[in-house]
Symmetry: C2
Subunit: 436 residues, 2 copies
């Protein structure tokens, strides 16, 4: 039976997913990101070191251990809940064998033991890129991440993507400049804006961080600011708050927006209410919306982290982003927004006149495969009408009839021509299943 939160696609949907994954990977590689795959498990202490997410972890237990005393924390293994924490652990463990700055992509399942709800899964596929450096990571990598993601989404058969960008330094500097010292709590409270609305956020700021009404109002004014160019900086400055961290954050955020505008106008929007719930981001943060799917929230998020990985006194700061592949496909499949022209990779079915001819049909299939044409021989020597139906039900475009000479029939048009398995080639658009 299906298990809530553990989605499974049918083969035709999996073909669409593979098409999407191939495009993602290909774009990541064009930008020089190297592939990495980490083990599915981490020690519990590694998983908990990030805080906040402890209750989402699935722990492992060997069946024959049941009844024994529970293991100590440091001996317990849990499934990873994202790919950033394992990546940081991998870098720390292998820093002597890696070349820095180290650019890697990682496309893997992750698991979260949350209560499943619409569009949220317990097992899902993520596609991440990160750049990590030793000691300090130049800021231009923060401007590159949205360009990669912009190229990824333009290569996919999905609605237009907008990357929403903010910078933690802008918010923290602004709150500090306002005179609010518990900036993390302010950030978490403002992050609830879309859920609970401005009045409740203002009340919560007054209550939890001791903000005055004017301070709470200023926090809300900052969160309202949004622009597709560098003009947001003037609007922030017009709020009259000054702070060195605020200035630094504004300068960084302008760089991200302007680099994106040069590469792909309209791709990026500065959106000063974006915060990202997780603790480890320290500067730039990214979220991504698909046109028409804004209400479902971000399908690609990330940011800059200065302190996630360190070895002794050496820090390994990084910046990265994660495409929620299962989440995105789940939304698009739910709207029937993606289709594939056939349910199998097969391009040609070789019809079988009788079982004695199977070796001959196998030779024809082998000759077609040798030239890269996916081919099956019919499973049984049924009437040709039934063999054509076998192809038709799967969306396979061609049926091959052995004879003297052989012929091949496009079962969509009915056109049938003489052909040799040594030389016939289907039109390029028929070779692989078409995704639209």
């Amino acid at each position: 039976m299906p298990i809530s939160g553990f989605p499974e696609w049918l083969p035709s949907q999996r073909m669409i997913e593979q098409f999407v994954l191939d495009r993602i990977r290909s774009t990541f590689e064009l930008y020089g990101f190297a592939p990495l795959e980490t083990r599915a498990v981490e020690p519990l202490e590694t998983l908990l070191s990030k805080g906040e997410t402890s209750k989402e972890v699935y722990l492992l237990r060997r069946l024959q251990d049941s009844g024994e005393a529970p293991l100590k924390d440091e001996d317990q293994l849990g499934l990873h809940f994202d790919l950033t924490v394992p990546f940081a652990r991998f870098v720390v463990e292998n820093h002597g064998k890696l070349q820095f700055p180290f650019r890697r992509y990682q496309i893997q399942k992750v698991w979260r033991g949350e209560r499943p709800q619409e569009g949220r899964y317990r097992e899902f596929l993520q596609a991440d890129i990160d750049v990590i450096n030793r000691d300090a990571l130049p800021f231009h990598f923060d401007t590159e991440i949205p360009l990669v993601i912009g190229d990824v989404f333009r290569s996919l058969p999905v609605p237009a993507a907008t990357i929403l960008v903010n910078n933690r330094k802008v918010c923290e500097g602004f709150y500090r400049g306002l005179g609010l010292s518990d900036t993390a709590q302010v950030l978490r409270t403002v992050d609830k804006l879309d859920k609970i609305g401005p009045a409740k956020v203002a009340a919560a700021l007054v209550e939890t961080v001791g903000a005055t009404d004017a301070q709470a109002e200023a926090c809300l004014r900052l969160a309202e600011i949004s622009a597709t160019d560098g003009s947001f900086a003037d609007r922030v400055t017009a709020l009259g708050v000054t702070d060195p961290m605020l200035e630094e954050g504004l300068s960084e955020l302008v760089q991200v927006v302007e680099a994106a505008n040069e590469h792909a106008p309209g791709l990026v929007r500065a959106e000063l209410k974006i915060a990202r719930g997780l603790d480890y981001y320290t500067g730039t943060v990214y979220e991504t919306q698909l046109e028409g799917y804004e209400r479902f929230g971000s399908i690609c998020s990330g940011g800059r982290y200065e302190t996630l990985a360190s070895v002794g006194n050496t820090r390994f700061p990084g910046v990265g982003i994660s495409i929620g592949v299962s989440r995105m496909l789940g939304l698009l499949f739910g709207q029937n927004a993606l289709t594939v022209s056939r349910s199998v990779p097969t391009c040609v079915v070789v019809a079988l006149p009788n079982e004695e001819k199977r070796p001959e049909c196998d030779r024809i299939a082998a000759a077609l495969r040798k030239r890269g044409i996916p081919t099956e021989v019919a499973p049984a020597a049924a009437k040709f009408g039934k063999q054509i139906q076998f192809a038709d039900r799967r969306g396979i475009p061609y049926v091959w009839f052995p004879g003297d000479p052989d012929t091949v029939k496009d079962i969509r048009s009915g056109a049938q021509i003489e052909a040799s398995a040594e030389s016939w080639t289907p039109p390029a658009e028929d070779l692989k299943p078409a995704i639209s």
Copy 2:
């Protein structure tokens, strides 16, 4: 820290693994196998339904459940330990939505909570193909599986593969014809031949199934038979045992060997001692050895199963095989038998004369990427010697120098030529990392 039994490859090794996976997938698709990915977890009762392997299962537990009473068996989830059991469950669950015969491939991690030992992992990658049909599955699919696997291994940069084939009906029919009724126990005992030797197998047969010395000797004589053509059938017949199931098994096994000999001489060898420990095989069984790595055992195994999946009175028999990708690569990496020409996908590094020129360098990189050439811009405006070193350390073959005109340097030969980012193309063999 590394966790015993959970291997992780470095990025250059992961590039080799991806190359291998791409070739495997491509061959599977040429034969018309459709992709499938199942969830990582199954209910414990599904995992235990196959028997024998119960102690290898990893169970999941949510962290916040700790301290609560253990769940009932039917509510417990465990990580899958192979891809055949989840596939059979998927077919039963979705049989109304699938077209039969259903050919699928599945490339995923599996987990086994065994004690790790050399060449055995607790987390590893498998690449499976199976064909399942409703009611009955024609035997010719058993002859096709080795052809697919033969094509896979010929496409890989690995030593020559030999597929060892046997048929459970040969063994069971032979044992029954000999007068031994507990054929399953005989099979399990003979399966230990390579581990404990013929004398101990004979003694065990006398002890556990009550065989006479002559019966035990006949079992050993059968297990000695091995041939790369159909001649093995005469040698079995010469042992003087007759049984209808034995005849059926011999006929099937001859078909597998002869079909393989026509397609790829030397690929398949009938090896009558092959049994496969797992319970569910009912006819053909396959194992695979790589030349020079025979002592490490099979790296690709499978067989025919008649009764793994059923819905009410409808059975879904199948035949399939599983390539142990992690196991194979672990062996080859251990012998340094596979290398890759660079540690990143990048083909060109665009040198950065100074930080002000970064936008211009980004434009050059974008133009190269647009034509499919993996490109990075240098991370910092260091001296050109250091930027060349950046490329050299990663095995990146080309460095691009912006100028008037631009030039590109092959840092292996030192040859430097004028080039335009709109038209220059590297030799095809340099575009992607080369595996050897």
